[in-house]
């Protein structure tokens, strides 16, 4: 449902010249759970990327694949990463940072700079007074349905 709205929005903007190879059936999309537990989708070393996984990733990343090539690249990337399975890491702790043996530096809690709202607002395309302006979020299903229908026309 959400994915379809995004695509319609994009298509409207881009003149409908882009199309996804993997189309989602609107019926299916409506019934799809809001958070997909894609446990069955993750490739188990096969490098297969399914349509559901693609949608899931696109939603999480807010970046679209854009075509078959990108999907193929992801499959190659996964196959490449699968080589790690050959390493024996029993009893090895994960390493997050090379400076893990040190305490993170904390400076004293004094205000030393700031008060530069005007400067920061200058970089934004849309501001109103001291606010960054964003389009409405996803909390209004009826409004969304209305917009979807309008875009579909």
């Amino acid at each position: 449902m959400w994915a379809r709205t995004v695509r319609l929005g994009l298509r409207a903007r881009l003149g409908g010249c882009r199309g996804f190879t993997f189309k989602v059936d609107p019926q299916e999309a409506e019934q799809a759970p809001s958070v997909t537990h894609a446990s069955g989708l993750a490739p188990q070393g096969t490098g297969q990327v399914t349509a559901e996984l693609i949608e899931h990733l696109e939603r999480l990343a807010l970046v679209d694949f854009g075509g078959r090539e990108a999907v193929a690249r992801l499959e190659k990337a996964i196959a490449f990463a699968d080589r790690l399975r050959g390493v024996d890491t029993d009893g090895v702790e994960p390493m997050e940072s090379v400076l893990e043996d040190r305490c993170l530096y904390l400076r004293s809690d004094n205000v030393t700079e700031g008060n530069c709202a005007e400067e920061l607002l200058q970089n934004s395309h849309r501001v109103v007074e001291e606010y960054f302006v964003a389009p409405p979020g996803m909390c209004y299903p009826e409004w969304l349905n209305k917009v979807t229908r309008e875009l579909g026309n």
């Binding site: 709205t5 995004v6 999480l60 970046v63 990108a70 990463a81 090895v92 400067e119 964003a134 979020g137």
Partner: protein, 563 residues
């Protein structure tokens, strides 16, 4: 036109040992020599600045610069001149032209990261390393070209176009390719600079500045340094502040330094290193600038040659030069031994997973709301974000974000991300073990082969190329400091590995004949054609526990053929 660069390298030969440098050859001098010249009034900062600006114009076809900051540079030069007139220069960098990679924030100067996402973005502050350079009086020539968001190993994937390797226009290369030096040449077989700091490398290599900042996440400073015939230094993680460096991989990024000789790199590192309260990942230990001795005894050095770096894909030329470099050290009394870094073959895979995962997280900040590109869609926040990111990022960036998100999925987190973090520890331990066994420095190639033509490079995609080209360099980014990180006296305060690719690479397969390829590079070496010949064909990487040890080892290689 490319023809003008053909004469460049011979034009800028340094005057003979002991001779007075004149303004004509100033561009070919070392930083300290130019600084001395400025102090003595042999040249003024404005004249030097004008020379570099004129060189930038002549070499525009290289596409090394995204933004040339002519006005700012001349203003800075004027101020520098006032200081010299009073006899109060700020230091060795006062009045010295430098260039900065376009992923460092520069106040009031456009910073694009080579991407549509940040085209037109003007930061309101200077990155700490930029500020440090300015505080020392350096002149900013401009912001240099790069792969988009520093993702790539060729400097071919930025929105401002690819960067050309100045060596593509050297006499040797053109003769090798049997090209006509004048007339309509197709210019179709120009060489890449390597990446992602290719613009910085081309800028230094083409004598448009004396030093340039790059960034190094998986080799992005050392790779172009090797392919453009420069010294490239990746300081240890935590030694140099990342505040203001638009992040790629927070746990591996480091600002890098590109110069034409080792001493220059030491000068710049001395200025940049040190704790920054604005970057909590910088170490707090005191760092003092160091002076490289003019002659180093290598007989006490133990050089390690990691056997796993001898891969089938290594070109025979690089392999033979690796052997020659090792033999050179040995002939001067150093102990050269074979060592093992057993997890080397997994290192690039581990890097690939960790890099894409951190990238996925870091790129999330680009949503069009507070800065950067914003699309026209106003349907909903998510639609706006998605379209903005579609328009702002290229395929490479989007591909890495998607891969990263895949590895970070709940069901994949353990199998890929945590696994990669564990492998990272194994790789870091490999380095710890080697350095604890008495080895002072490791000597390895930087790249698999010399610089390749652009048309050949683009036959494979960015991910494949990065996996190939980063193979020798990324392990050090993951290992950072070795286990022995106790801080002793201030003199030994930086006991962490840093890696420098020290030696220039000649794109030509033919060994140059009488004159050294890069006469300006080894001003300490004066006239040693054989040594220069060897070094100018090498593209080696030296990894050490200690920044000073690295610099000393490389410097000593320059001297090891003194009779």
């Amino acid at each position: 036109m490319p023809a003008v660069v053909v004469d460049l390298f011979s034009l800028l030969s340094p005057s003979p040992c002991g001779g007075r440098p004149n303004t004509k050859t100033m561009l070919g001098r070392t930083l300290r020599e130019v600084s001395a010249g400025l102090k003595q009034g042999q040249i003024t900062p404005t004249e030097l600045c004008q020379k570099c600006l004129s060189m930038i114009k002549k070499t525009k076809f290289l596409n090394a610069y995204i933004t040339v900051t002519e006005e700012e540079a001349l203003k800075q030069a004027e101020e520098s001149e006032k200081r010299y007139a009073k006899g109060q220069p700020l230091g060795d960098l006062d009045g010295i032209p430098v260039a900065i990679k376009d992923n460092f924030s520069t106040s009031a100067i456009e910073t694009t990261c080579g991407s549509n996402m940040l085209k037109g973005y003007v930061p309101p502050y200077n990155a700490t390393v930029v500020q440090k350079l300015f505080d020392q009086g350096a002149l900013l020539m401009g912001k240099t070209n790069l792969d988009e968001f520093a993702m790539g190993s060729g400097s071919t994937d930025g929105v401002f176009g690819p960067v050309k390797n100045p060596w593509s226009y050297s006499k040797q290369y053109r003769e090798k390719r049997k090209q006509k030096p004048h007339g309509e040449n197709e210019d179709s077989d120009w060489l890449i600079t390597g990446g992602s700091s290719g613009g910085s490398a081309a800028a230094v290599s083409a004598f448009t500045c004396f030093a340039a900042l790059g960034s190094d996440t998986g080799g992005s400073t050392r790779n172009p340094a090797a392919q453009c015939g420069l010294v490239g230094v990746k300081p240890s993680y935590g030694l140099v502040s990342r505040h203001g460096l638009i992040p790629l991989v927070n746990s591996m990024d480091v600002p890098g330094i590109l110069t034409r000789c080792v001493d220059d790199a030491a000068v710049v590192l001395g200025v940049l290193a040190g704790h920054d309260p604005k970057d909590s990942t910088t170490i707090q230990d005191p760092v003092k600038p160091f002076l490289l001795p003019s002659l180093t005894d290598v007989s006490k050095l133990c050089i390690g040659i990691p056997k796993e770096y001898l891969v089938p894909e290594l070109s025979s030329e690089v392999q033979s030069l690796w052997t020659k470099a090792a033999d050179l050290f040995e002939s001067r009394g150093a102990k050269v031994i074979e060592v093992s870094l057993p997890h080397t073959s997994y290192s690039i895979v581990c890097y690939h997973v960790l890099c894409t995962s951190e990238v996925a997280s870091n790129m999330a900040r680009f949503d069009g709301l507070e800065y950067g590109h914003r699309c026209d869609i106003d349907v909903s926040t998510e639609a706006m974000y998605a379209a903005t990111r579609r328009e702002g990022f290229n395929d490479v960036v989007r591909g890495r974000i998607l891969s990263g998100n895949f590895f970070l999925l709940k069901e994949n987190y353990e199998t890929y991300f945590i696994k990669a973090q564990k492998v990272r520890r194994l790789i870091a331990n490999d380095f710890v073990n080697v350095f604890n066994s008495g080895v002072d420095v490791l000597l390895t190639p930087t790249t698999l082969s010399e610089a390749v033509p652009y048309l050949e490079f683009i036959k494979e995609d960015n991910r494949t190329r990065s996996a190939q080209d980063d193979i020798f360099t990324q392990a050090v980014n993951m290992a950072g400091p070795t286990g022995d990180s106790q801080i002793r006296s201030p003199n030994q305060s930086h006991r962490m590995p840093c890696s420098s690719s020290a030696f220039p690479a000649s794109p030509s397969q033919q060994p140059p004949i009488r004159a050294p390829l890069k006469p300006s590079l080894f001003s300490h070496c004066k006239a040693f054609p054989l040594l220069c010949l060897l070094l100018s064909l090498c593209q080696m990487q030296v990894i050490a526990v200690d920044s000073l040890a690295t610099a000393n080892s490389i410097n000593s290689l320059c001297f090891s053929s003194f009779g």
